[in-house]
Symmetry: C2
Amino acid sequence: SPPSKSSYHSLFTSPSLSDNFSISNHLHTLTRRPHVAGSEANAEAAAYVLSIFTSSNIQSHIASYEVSLTYPVSRSLTLARPPPEPPTTFNLRQEIYDGDPYADVADQVQPTFHAYAKSGNVSGPVVYVNYGRVEDYMTLKEMGVNVSGAIALAKYGKIYRGDIVKTAYAAGAIGVLVYTDRKDYGGGGGDVRWFPDDKWMPPSGVQVGSVYKGLGDPTTPGWASTRECERLSEEEVEKGGDVPLIPSLPVSAADGETILRSIGGQVADEDWQGSKDAPTYRLGPGPGIVHLNYTGKQIIGTIQNVIGVIEGAEEPDRFVILGNHRDAWTFGAVDPNSGTAALLEIAERLGKMQKKGWKPRRTIVLCNWDAEEYGLIGSTEWVEENRETLASRAVAYLNVDCAVSGPGFHASATPQLDELLKRATQQVQDPDNSSQSIYDSWVSSNNSLLIERLGDGGSDFAAFVQHVGIPAVAMFFGGGYPVYHSMYDDFIWMEKYGDPMFRRHVAVASVWGLVALWLADEEFLPYNYLSYSQELQMYTKELEDRISDKNVSLTPLFKSIEELTKAATTVNNQIKEMKERKGWASIWNKDPLKVRELNDRQMMTERAFTDRDGLYGRSWYKHLIYGPSEHDDYGSSFFPGIDYAIEKAKTENTTETWHLVQREVWKVSRAIRHASLVLKGELT
Amino acid sequence: SPPSKSSYHSLFTSPSLSDNFSISNHLHTLTRRPHVAGSEANAEAAAYVLSIFTSSNIQSHIASYEVSLTYPVSRSLTLARPPPEPPTTFNLRQEIYDGDPYADVADQVQPTFHAYAKSGNVSGPVVYVNYGRVEDYMTLKEMGVNVSGAIALAKYGKIYRGDIVKTAYAAGAIGVLVYTDRKDYGGGGGDVRWFPDDKWMPPSGVQVGSVYKGLGDPTTPGWASTRECERLSEEEVEKGGDVPLIPSLPVSAADGETILRSIGGQVADEDWQGSKDAPTYRLGPGPGIVHLNYTGKQIIGTIQNVIGVIEGAEEPDRFVILGNHRDAWTFGAVDPNSGTAALLEIAERLGKMQKKGWKPRRTIVLCNWDAEEYGLIGSTEWVEENRETLASRAVAYLNVDCAVSGPGFHASATPQLDELLKRATQQVQDPDNSSQSIYDSWVSSNNSLLIERLGDGGSDFAAFVQHVGIPAVAMFFGGGYPVYHSMYDDFIWMEKYGDPMFRRHVAVASVWGLVALWLADEEFLPYNYLSYSQELQMYTKELEDRISDKNVSLTPLFKSIEELTKAATTVNNQIKEMKERKGWASIWNKDPLKVRELNDRQMMTERAFTDRDGLYGRSWYKHLIYGPSEHDDYGSSFFPGIDYAIEKAKTENTTETWHLVQREVWKVSRAIRHASLVLKGELT
Ligand SMILES: [Ca+2]
Ligand SMILES: [Ca+2]
Ligand SMILES: [Zn+2]
Ligand SMILES: [Zn+2]
Ligand SMILES: [Zn+2]
Ligand SMILES: [Zn+2]
């Protein structure tokens, strides 16, 4: 008889199929040149991914889209100070260090800029706005600092940069500069050294990125950017509210500090200050006056998702999807090609398993996305195009973006996959402690078994979870890292600081692949909805604390969650019973349609958490349990519709606005009830 | 070996299982008393349906909802004329004829009224507005007749009465009377006789009905009216725009004629006039002045859907759903209990087949809806509650409302079921011509093989098709009939004029049940999407003629339809191939998951014609191919979003409004593309 599925799964994570040398080679090849979305270098990288997929016996093709992308055309930034100090013109360049092996291709790095920044020529006094959050502007208001007509100088570090610009605009700023403070990215100042001598961001390093707040091509909201499709005009895009209406530019720690020195006025709060040896940060406005002139060009460029498909032998119409993006702002060693290297490792392992006779029960789809950096564009366009098919066939989406930037396992998931994720980490050795599993290290870490949720717009899971309602997982080793989105995110940095032995890469490939294999091969889909109902109950209790003094009833929520708990228990028992029965008479009692029925109920339950009308005022977002928080696309919130309504009600505090909170509570509880009916599989 | 499926299907339509006597008995029992939604009599009728289902070995239950219903409390209508003529006070009663066997329960008929009419006390000069359509008001405007401040007197007959009231309100009317003209319902006047001596409406007969334009309980738009659910306030309901804002009342032909005699002013056009012996119809306003005082009460009442389930032996999670409503404005012999009697006949035939060993492959669900008359409430609430489950499991919905009101077969369908419907009519004898099939008579009739579409709000298919995207069929013998929604729609009328031998009832049960049986039992679902793409092409060509002089490109539509045609051809070939292969080696080659995959693609294709965001401004309507036309809920339009945009653009004729037509064209073409991708079953 052929080897069992589980022996293949053991093989998958075994040393015989794991190859850190090959991963390192993949990463080295992928990061030879900067490869921003739409560039020839990124098309070359796509061809490389395609070739590895194909040579691993995976049927592959390129899914192209024509999307709106922006590139910088000209930038100038000068600072005028009160006489006698001379004005400063910033050179806006990231320095090449002595012996940098990438010096000859450094000019292929895009000049530092913000994707989708508004072109414009503005000058005004500078106001220091800390991290540029809503609460920071509230502090400024309390202190009597007027941002109107000023250029806001904000630090990166707490919220998505698109929200920094949007919030500054709302406060009346006419331009925005965003810099990386040494305290956050430079190791804290003092005699700390920086790349290549240490992992920290060099003083000239600039964190570039997008300031677009939407998902997918801004000119095709909700539909795929196929050739000759409908497109919004620039005017319509601006009306949509997701692109900035004032110019902005990212600047280095050094330039940020120069500008900070030009600002007078009140001294900023202690927690707004920089590292010990930094100057005293003051709020302004001025007297330093910044003149920012930015011109970008918007083009329709071709992007390329590489899609590889291993067709399921028994259930070809059920998809387990793995995804990672390929495009990078610069070299992309951490972000995102550590993930791409892991994906290629998985492809190769699966190729070898196929040679040994393994075939997945369900279809496995490997996706290598383009233009994630611009706004999750490659994945979003593909999901928008395949929405209906995915809605009826996708079992799960498994995302890895930056796979490795250091030690320490982190994960996110929709809750029905929590258990599976934990189970997988038990099967894989901790790359930083060979005496225990990733799970063991995770248990004893600061973030002990903490699983984040997937309501934010931080990577390519967003369209899968928030637009279609597909169970999902994301994972990585490390976390925030100093050279993020700068020219220094290259192979040298990875080799020296991120993952010298590439064992963390191997570990990510193992966990990621194992989760996929179990989802693809196990007869009964390994979901557990009890975790979901427990999470929901926790959120509702938090909500209760938050609005205990308000006239809002959470009873409908609690009731619907109770119903979900019952349905989850029932389905778990049914599976257990059927497994036992199958074991007892496995041949003559085989009934693939009965198993399918149980699996489908669970697969479709996540879909039922979405609402067709979507979030109020943000209708692309269909998921009612997880979505982005209003003022930070990198922030995830539970019950985003309720959350938004509460924020509004707290501000306006009218009967009407609190009534809207109650309406959102009803809406969510109905979605949970729909989910429990689907999980039960019964008609009322 | 057990009898084959097809021998059971032949049995189903054979004389041995057909029982016109039993159908007549069912109808007689169901129509003993008036049984409006929410009444005790209707609960009794529900119990009867439940008992027949149960005794036919069908697992049954009642799905109740708590919904907003209205009843009349007081009505008065007087007509003042210029002196010396005395004022008339109308008694607003439908007369009981000599020997009426239902005389003793006639007082259980609700006083004539409009459900959800606005309560109010208004008086004003009368304007005659013909059928109350938008074009009728345009004629009035051209003729200089001002409706503002007047009471509109409209005839029933062309559009939904809710639209009569809404359009009158938009024209400035302060109240509306709607009467049944003898020319339309009375046999044309002259020496024509009426019920009980002929089929025509008596002069005192009144067509009651709803004037609510929405679907489902007005207080729960989009969600189910379960006990203790969220409800809109009366104010919020009125803001929604689907309930009338001025009072209205239905009146008899006699009362309508009396009022018409009081109207002076210009003589109405020839085609606005009544039957030969009618007075000359003039337009007004006045001098006749009507005083209308109407008070209704709005309550939350319990309604009861009776649901019977025959679980599928092989695919229990695929549903073939048959539906018919039970509630009636009065006795409901035609509307709707001719359909209920047919449904009970089907239940009994299936019960007998089960005794002989038949089990359906898929689950058959029999639904007997409540409160259809008020606004498709029973079916809509159930669909809203079970939306997610239905979306992933429903194969088709088969509706019969008025099963029989005379001879002549009529049908509607979503186009992938056209072929099946024709096939079924070939298997059933024409009840009015025993020498040929229904199909043969249909071919040679005026409406030769005409299959209407299901975009209107005329019966309980609406939520299934337009809200969820479920393939559907509806059928009946006869059509519009004179005593519609009056007190005279009783068993006597049916026995004398509608179906004296109850053979038409038998025939409806046979066709309806056979369509259901084939959908439930055939291994490969009997859809054909080539009919769909042909229909779409026809619509697009019609569209092309309609806007040929406008700067709107229909290329995206034509392209997407071409893609659908290709996908339909492919799937048809795949099925053919698989059937042949199965025939060749039917036992060892049986692969239920492969068959399921092909079936699912086709089942879900209809879903893909829906858009989650729905029609612009009417977001409950998710279907982009079929929906109600803007000014008539009884009118069905194709591409309702495009249709609406064109009407608007024709009125406003700006670049902007024509641009919106183009956007709607894009939207529909994307839905068709989604459908073709689902039908192909491939990821891009
Ligand atoms: Ca798009
Ligand atoms: Ca409702
Ligand atoms: Zn990334
Ligand atoms: Zn990134
Ligand atoms: Zn009816
Ligand atoms: Zn009716």
